[in-house]
Chain length 235, copies 2
DNA sequence: GTTTGTGAAGTTATTCACAGCG
DNA sequence: CGCTGTGAATAACTTCACAAAC
């Protein structure tokens, strides 16, 4: 049911795969046929051995002497990340952030089919965002029955985030991605991840305060265990 | 000029400080006077030794036998993170994400003073978002002269993100936080970090595909070196 | 000649386990 | 006793360096 090599891939590597994926997508679009680990490393702001090691976990897809076939490698990464699988995503909370996510290429252009948008505001319910109608949260369970979502995204105000999480779990969602600045609890079998839009800002603040920053980089959300928490207050 | 212990704190720890900060803020608000490493660990989805080790880098702020004084610890973390310092932030790109960030408690409630909002759309310029007028990007340099921003946030479409980064750097910004799905280049002295709103989704997809997820957690943007890339397409 | 793939070495981070303080 | 703070042990991750493949 799943691609070649399984959960043997180190978590740190898994977190970088989306980075390579994005870069390869850009390269393929630009018509670049092959890329070396050196080039890829420069674009990803990591070092070349790391790239090679990461990619080697997926198998041997490079050609010694010339590098990696961009299209071929991209296809394998997509497969490994499960981006060739249909993962219906529902978004609850259609404020500014919810709308940004709903419309985002990052979501829709990557196998993530946004299958439902929910809110409780009567001003929003019935409107369209990114070609999809916003429905009242009370229709969540019904909608989930017809088209069971794999992932529930929470972009509500923090005060209602836990309630929404409970309802998502109740509706059968197996994974929850929380953007609300609130610590959430879900049953053990549910995969919960939490993205905090202001953590990077705070980390920046730390390095600004201490003068000594660790070699500027393109940063984002890696680690699965040691992680952040909510932070942005969305509408 | 800077707090007690300097850049000696491991990067992984620094990335967790904002997590503790948020939890402590909630605890203080809730009137909880003390907290043990065990409790803090549970709330942060990490283990207790890690909490103790992380906090020990800041000094000895706990009381054996009873735990940590929430208010006291919070104050120290704030100081360590530089949250008691004025860091003027300008946001370029006032689409859905830009608006979410501009209005976010996460930004404004934490010492980050949003000092300017910029866009190029004539429909947006002149409007108010979160009590601040949106100005045309052409006024960036002028505004930066009057109130020099410490941090520039990019929430534009990817196509113009590099240009915006160049202008921010030109205007004297020392740190850039990029939310656009594009790899950016900045001069070596500028601290650049990149947040990708869809990386978590892709990591989730990986673990969904491979069945075997690594103990659900609250996730966010830790590592400084190994990092992510752009992803969400905002308006 | 170039660039991958990978053991081995080195580094950083996590967890253990317990002495020491309140 | 309870809970912190920390050295020592373990585990994870990164980087080196080079043989093998093209």
């Amino acid at each position: 049911m799943s691609p070649p090599r399984a959960g043997r891939i180190p978590e740190a590597s898994v977190a970088r795969l989306p980075v390579y994926q994005r870069i390869l997508l850009e390269l393929v679009r630009a018509g670049t046929a092959t890329v070396s680990s050196e080039q890829l490393a420069e674009l990803a702001h990591v070092n070349a051995s790391k790239v090679r090691k990461d990619l080697s976990f997926l198998g041997s897809f490079g050609t010694r002497g010339s590098g990696y076939d961009t299209r071929f490698l991209l296809a394998h990464i997509d497969r490994e990340l499960g981006l060739d699988t249909d993962w219906p995503v529902v978004i609850v909370g259609i404020g500014n952030l919810g709308r940004a996510l709903a419309r985002s290429q990052g979501f829709s252009s990557r196998g993530f089919r946004v299958s439902g948008l929910f809110d409780v505001s009567s001003e929003l319910v019935g409107t369209e965002v990114g070609g999809l109608a916003v429905r009242h949260l009370d229709h969540l369970e019904e909608a989930a029955g017809l088209d069971p979502p794999s992932i529930g995204v929470i972009s509500t105000p923090p005060s209602v985030a836990q309630d929404v999480a409970d309802r998502l779990v109740g509706a059968g969602v197996g994974s929850v991605l929380n953007f609300a600045p609130r610590v959430l609890r879900v049953p053990g079998h549910v995969l919960l991840r939490h993205v905090d839009l202001s953590i990077e800002l705070q980390v920046m603040s730390f390095y600004l305060s201490h003068g000594d920053h660790p070699g500027s980089v393109a940063a984002s959300s890696p680690l699965p265990h040691p992680v952040g928490l909510g932070a942005v207050d969305l509408a």
